[in-house]
Amino acid sequence: MSNPKNEWPLWEVFVRSKAGLDHKHCGSLHAADSAMAIQMARDVYTRRQEGTSIWVVRSEQIVASDPAEKGSLFEPADDKVYRHPTFYELPDELNHM
């Protein structure tokens, strides 16, 4: 039973909650194939109208950034306030630019 080869593969589930919004990661599940993964995702993650569309992808196919590189990847953005609109002070009479 604990033969890992007989465990159904793991899938990551992404759900679009309503038209116009992004698919959002909501969890994972085991399923033998993609059709079953969709079916199960529907039962596990959308029992209360949480979704209008589902994506599933094999977990092993996801490539993720390394948490150890969090600093070098994301900290450079910390000191670039000029990338935000609020950095620029403009006269009030411009209203909402």
Partner: protein, 334 residues
């Protein structure tokens, strides 16, 4: 539904291995993140004991959801109306879903689903003691929703702020659904107490009498007997102590019992104006430990049912996998 407080199983001593300077440094950084209220994600470094404690707690919690389907499932075919049947089906399906969210959260810590299943089926893993009591009448179903799910909510709401993020996220989802469970149970009892016959009202009272103490036991051992609580509190795995939660549950539930028109079987129960809380009697801890230790009224039956379901489903799992492999091979060849 909810698992028992984790202290039951978190008894193993801290590993006494010699730690390298690098590990100590990591541990310090980890403790600092926890102290700052940060969430820990699956791929972040974490101390081995933190990981083990979480695997144990989350998998026990998942097992509880799955085993918790059995006492209620017992009444699906005998629900008194189609409406109650549809509600009960939805609730039991939710419990299955909760089990799956939780297994998935535990798997992020590097344990496999099969390992967890194996631990449950062999009796190695624990699940909440509450599910080792039988559901004798239809009123038990209402009382489980009201008291057992009520206690579960008390327990689970603080877990939405658990330091381990995948667990916290699963708990947020669970809590969102749990409120329906409690309300449908209470409403079912209210219907019997307002419109029912004398016999039906007596049935509700009888169910409350049987489930009251086991519900209080869901919060786990008293604080003085929970030696590992402190570490779990410090690590943000646990946010509120067992006794605090139990008190909160009693204080919230007694007014609900009054509205329903039932009493709880505790002669020591009394409002304490000074504490602004209810005083209540002592739990029969011998019963608690006996049920946890496998000697409850239904421990054997529950495990047997899970084992049968697993064994009977083996051919389905194998066939689905064989089919998927065949399709994949065909697709490759094409």
């Amino acid at each position: 539904m909810y698992t028992q407080a984790m202290d039951l199983m978190a008894r193993e001593a801290k590993p006494k291995v010699v730690k390298s300077a690098e590990d100590l440094q990591r541990e310090e950084a980890f403790e600092a993140r926890i102290a700052a209220g940060e969430f820990i994600e699956a791929k972040d470094w974490m101390p081995e004991h933190y990981r083990k404690t979480l695997v144990r707690q989350i998998s026990q919690h998942a097992h509880s959801e799955i085993v918790g389907m059995l006492p209620e499932g017992n009444w699906i075919t005998r629900a008194p109306t189609l409406k109650r049947k549809a509600i009960l089906l939805a609730k039991v399906q939710d419990e299955g879903g909760h089990g799956l969210y939780l297994y998935a959260a535990a798997e992020t810590l590097g344990t496999s689903r099969d390992e967890m299943t194996e631990a449950l089926l062999s009796g190695k893993a624990k699940y909440s003691s509450i599910f080792n009591y039988p559901t004798l009448t239809w009123a038990d179903i209402g009382v489980i929703g009201w008291l057992v799910d009520g206690a579960a909510i008390m327990n689970q709401v603080p877990l939405c702020r658990c330091s381990y993020a995948p667990y916290a996220r699963a708990m947020i989802r669970v809590c969102r659904e749990e409120s329906f469970h409690q309300r449908q149970g209470y409403e079912s009892l209210l219907t019997m107490m307002t419109h029912g016959t004398a016999a039906q009202k007596a049935m509700v009272q009888d169910a409350v009498n049987r489930w009251w103490w086991p519900s209080l036991m869901m919060f786990g051992p008293a604080d003085k007997d929970s030696p590992n609580s402190e570490q779990s509190m410090r690590w943000g795995i646990k946010r509120v102590t067992n006794d605090q939660l139990r008190q909160k549950f009693v204080d919230a539930t007694i007014p609900q019992a009054d509205i329903l028109g039932v009493t709880v079987p505790d002669p020591a129960l009394k409002w304490n104006a000074e504490r602004d809380a209810y005083d209540f009697g002592e739990i029969d801890w011998r019963e608690f430990w006996a049920v946890v230790g496998g000697e409850g009224p239904c421990n054997r039956e529950r495990l047997a049912a899970r084992n049968k379901a697993w064994d009977d489903g083996a051919w389905v799992r194998d066939a689905a996998l064989a089919h998927a492999r065949k399709q994949a091979t065909k697709a490759e060849a094409a």
